[in-house]
């Protein structure tokens, strides 16, 4: 039997030899296009490169400085114990005076000043920094901390005018740590945590464990109560309670009350009548809900304003892209308002779908095979909806089924969604028809219709390819412009318009033509369609507006009283939360990854805590094991890591979602050091577009 491989050997040698000698140059514009796209990336490369050089240099300088400091200090101590004895005959000669002699009686102020210089903040990666104490949880949250002074004997009735949370501390129930009753003036502190950015900035763990297993919190809000006299934290006398009415951020199905045990660093369940199960029974364990219920409760929460648009997380260096989107969006909006183009129904109805799906919808027609009246063997794929305009290249021609090559007849009856013609050799083509029943492909020969003597097969097929490419490129371009138009349109819409679906709003756009012409005309006149600086300014203001609205929506309007409050009786001051607990996994056992983290410049990060945020569902929780990352490929989760030095890092949602992952896999993730950008809840809200 002839060896099949040697059959083609000579052919392969021929082509290998020939193709390796191809000596063709790309056009000059190719480099220009590469350089233009590479420009912004080069800025990032440079930053990374120079950081690698300057950080070690700075480290050397700092080590030298502190080394010199330490040397000087050690030497001073040594001299104090064993002062250098100067022989009498040398003491008069300045040249022989030992330099350290002058330092045996150092200026104590100078010494104090020298030792109080703080470590440079940005060198944690180069130098070991002493462990910092746990961050103070009292910081500027969405709702500022309340401090209220009262007399311990008289008690306190307090209501927060912003949130409606109220506290009643009866008189005479406060005691010192040694059990003595407290008298005199005391200070009441109330700190509420009411948003993801508050939880994140607080560093408070958001997971819970008991004998049944590990769970995550879905928070309805946290509060921290304390009463102090001077620097001493006071307590509630045994058997006594204070009352609190807490307005949660939103209604939660089967919420529970938890108390944070500072000594154990863990949350403990507090059975409370305010959180009884729906059937009224109290439970020895906190009630668990499914992830789906937690998400549903988050999405159904009352927000103000309604239909708040969401921002996508902006990757570093993408601000120019956004300015371009706004310019393109405004330009397209203006053209649409002026009637120079129209958004088709298939886009209006499916704009939320991915490009591939949309293009698939675009390329959906009604095609059926028609036969020549007199020559039944000749047929043509007729496109009833006229989507595949490139078929016009075959005007004056038909196809003939190639029985010899195909071997058997294929059924071509009925209607098809898509058609494609590919030249195989000469007039022989492969026709592909895609329909509800699947894909059919077969050979057919392109022939001129009877009497058409001037038909050029090669030319027709070349035209077909050209027209198809142009149509697809046009569709890509239109899709891009329409997306950008819808993206930018939100910025200039009223709040009522935000609540419309894409399809509704496109209809509204058409109906309110005069208003839209005015709106987009003014934007074009202001330079939003062609000036980067104007577009960037628009974007920056828009981001700020949405972030502020997002933060504000967690706080009830001033004077408003939420219909939902939890009436609590508390025996201890401290940190409480009113949360659901749930398990990740949407009905199936959750799988995890063995995660390793490093920064873009290669520093390995060992986190002490990992917080997880899912912006679309408003889930926020922490992981009980920082190196066990949930395996949820494709899901847009932000991970926020904090190491033992208090430095913060972000594994961005798009990076995580795009990573190929399998359960129990050991994976490395690149994280961004955001310590210098974050401190307060507002910083986190800004960074993560909460």
């Amino acid at each position: 039997m002839e060896d099949k491989t040697s059959t083609n050997q000579n052919l392969e040698d021929l082509f290998r030899q020939g193709l390796n000698q191809v000596d063709s140059e790309p056009d000059a514009e190719t480099w220009a296009a590469i350089a233009a796209q590479q420009k912004s990336l080069n800025t990032r490369f440079k930053r990374r490169y120079y950081a690698k050089i300057t950080l070690p240099l700075l480290a050397v300088l700092i080590i030298s400085f502190f080394g010199w400091q330490q040397f000087g200090s050690n030497h001073k101590d040594a001299l104090q114990q064993n002062p250098i004895q100067i022989p009498e005959n040398q003491s008069q000669n300045p040249a022989t005076q030992h330099p350290e002699v002058a330092q045996t009686n150092p200026d104590p102020n100078e010494a104090a000043a020298l030792t109080s210089i703080p470590a440079a903040p940005n060198l944690a990666s180069a130098l070991p920094v002493p462990e910092r104490p746990q961050p103070n949880r009292i910081r500027v949250n969405t709702v500022p901390r309340t401090v209220w002074r009262f007399k311990a004997e008289e008690g306190l009735e307090y209501e927060n005018p912003v949130t409606g949370t109220s506290v009643h501390i009866p008189g005479g129930i406060l005691v010192h740590n040694d059990g003595r009753p407290v008298t005199g003036e005391v200070a009441f502190n109330l700190q509420e945590y009411r948003s993801m950015s508050d939880y994140l900035a607080s560093g408070i763990p958001m997971h819970y464990s008991d004998e049944r297993g590990d769970y995550h919190f879905n928070s309805g809000g946290m509060f921290e109560l304390s009463v102090r006299q001077g620097t001493e934290s006071l307590n509630i006398a045994p058997g006594q309670q204070c009352e609190m009415r807490f307005s949660p951020t939103h209604k939660l199905t089967q919420a529970n009350l938890f108390f944070f045990d500072e000594n154990a660093g863990q949350w403990k369940y507090e059975a409370s009548p305010a959180f009884a199960a729906e059937d009224g029974a109290s439970s020895a364990y906190p009630l668990v809900v499914s992830e789906a219920v937690a998400i549903r409760d988050n999405i159904n929460r009352e927000t103000a304003p309604a239909c708040l648009p969401q921002l996508d997380l902006i990757a570093p260096g993408d601000d120019n892209r956004l300015a371009q989107w706004i310019k393109d969006g405004v330009r397209t909006g203006n053209e649409l308002a002026l009637g120079k183009q129209v958004i088709p129904a298939w886009f209006r109805n499916y704009a939320d779908q991915k490009d591939e799906v949309l293009l698939g919808r675009l390329e959906q027609s009604l095609i059926h095979i028609v036969h020549h009246r007199d020559h039944q063997e000749m047929f043509f794929p007729e496109d009833i909806k006229g989507i595949f305009t490139e078929l016009k290249a075959f005007k004056g021609a038909y196809f003939v089924f190639d029985s010899e090559r195909n071997g058997k007849m294929v059924p071509l009856d009925g209607f098809w969604d898509r058609v494609s013609v590919v030249q195989e050799q000469g007039a022989v083509c492969t026709i592909s028809l895609l329909g509800k029943t699947g894909l059919v492909q077969f050979y057919a020969t392109l022939v001129p219709s009877p009497g058409n003597e001037h038909f050029d097969v090669e030319k027709a097929l070349a035209n077909y390819r050209k027209m198809r490419d142009e149509r697809q490129q046009d569709a890509d371009k239109n899709l891009k412009n329409w997306r950008r138009f819808l993206f930018a349109a939100k910025i200039f819409e009223s709040e009522q318009e935000w609540c419309m679906s894409t399809s509704e709003w496109c209809g509204y756009f058409d109906e309110q033509n005069a208003m839209m012409r005015k709106r987009y005309g003014a934007l074009v006149k202001a330079g939003a369609a062609d000036q980067d600086s104007v577009a960037q300014d628009i974007w920056a203001k828009w981001r700020r507006r949405i972030i502020n609205m997002n933060m504000g929506k967690n706080v009830p309007a001033r004077g408003a009283r939420s219909s939902l409050t939890y009436a609590l009786r508390l025996s201890n001051f401290g940190l409480y939360n009113c949360d659901q607990i749930f398990k990740l996994g949407r009905g199936h056992e959750m799988a995890y990854l063995d995660a390793h983290y490093k920064t873009y410049d290669g520093r390995i990060i060992t986190p002490q805590s990992v917080s997880v945020m899912e912006k679309s569902t408003r889930l926020f929780f922490t992981l009980s094991a920082p190196n066990q990352l949930p395996c949820l490929p494709g899901r847009k989760l932000d991970f926020i890591l904090t190491d033992k030095f208090g430095r913060n890092y972000v594994l961005a949602r798009n990076t995580y979602a795009r990573k190929a992952m399998q359960a129990n896999q050991s994976l490395s993730f690149e994280v961004q050091d955001v310590t210098d950008k974050t401190g307060s809840p507002a910083d986190w809200a800004e960074l993560l577009d909460m």
Partner: protein
């Protein structure tokens, strides 16, 4: 790796536009030849070349000096070509072709062939055939490797490769007949 190449790579990695231009100038010809083989025509080849160089500049850190640098550049370019083709026409990688009987004709060239005309023949192949022919004949991928790369069965790879060779042979014969 020689020092001048190391210096060039280092310059590209730190975002030096001049170094990147030098790299482009040095390797554009052989890499463009790779792109031309995978593309249907010159404009498409230029698109692939652009994507390839952007990928090269981004991934230069992954070249550890093992093996030839040009070989690594070619691999990156081939990968970009495949990605480009996948994005362009996913319909084209369907595998419902019937097998054709194999042609056992032994072909021996007896003339010098213009490399451009051979390139044109390859470009005339259907995209699926062209890709498989390039991967097996020019890049020396095995059938199994091609099957994994393209997500199709090995038997389809074999049959499509055989079909590609058959078509090329017909084109070559046609050219022979025309020329001689």
């Amino acid at each position: 790796m020689d020092q001048s190449l190391q210096k060039l790579i280092a310059g590209c990695r730190r975002g030096d536009a001049g170094a990147q231009r030098n790299l482009f100038d040095q390797y554009r010809t052989p890499l463009f030849a790779v792109c031309l083989r995978y593309a249907r025509d010159r404009p498409e080849a230029q698109d692939i070349l652009q994507e390839a160089f952007l990928t090269i500049f981004r991934d230069l850190g992954q070249f550890k000096g093992e093996g030839s640098f040009e070989g690594w550049l070619r691999k990156v370019t081939v990968r970009c070509a495949l990605q480009h083709l996948r994005r362009k026409n996913p319909l084209r990688f369907a595998e419902n072709y019937d097998d054709l009987p194999h042609d056992t004709h032994n072909f021996v060239p007896d003339a010098d062939w213009n490399s451009e005309s051979l390139l044109r023949m390859v470009q005339l192949l259907a995209p699926g055939y062209r890709t498989i022919f390039n991967l097996h004949c020019m890049e020396s991928f095995s059938y199994a490797e091609i099957a994994v790369e393209l997500g199709i069965s090995e038997s389809t790879v074999r049959s499509q490769y055989a079909r590609a060779c058959k078509q090329l042979r017909s084109l070559v014969e046609k050219l022979l007949t025309t020329v001689f």
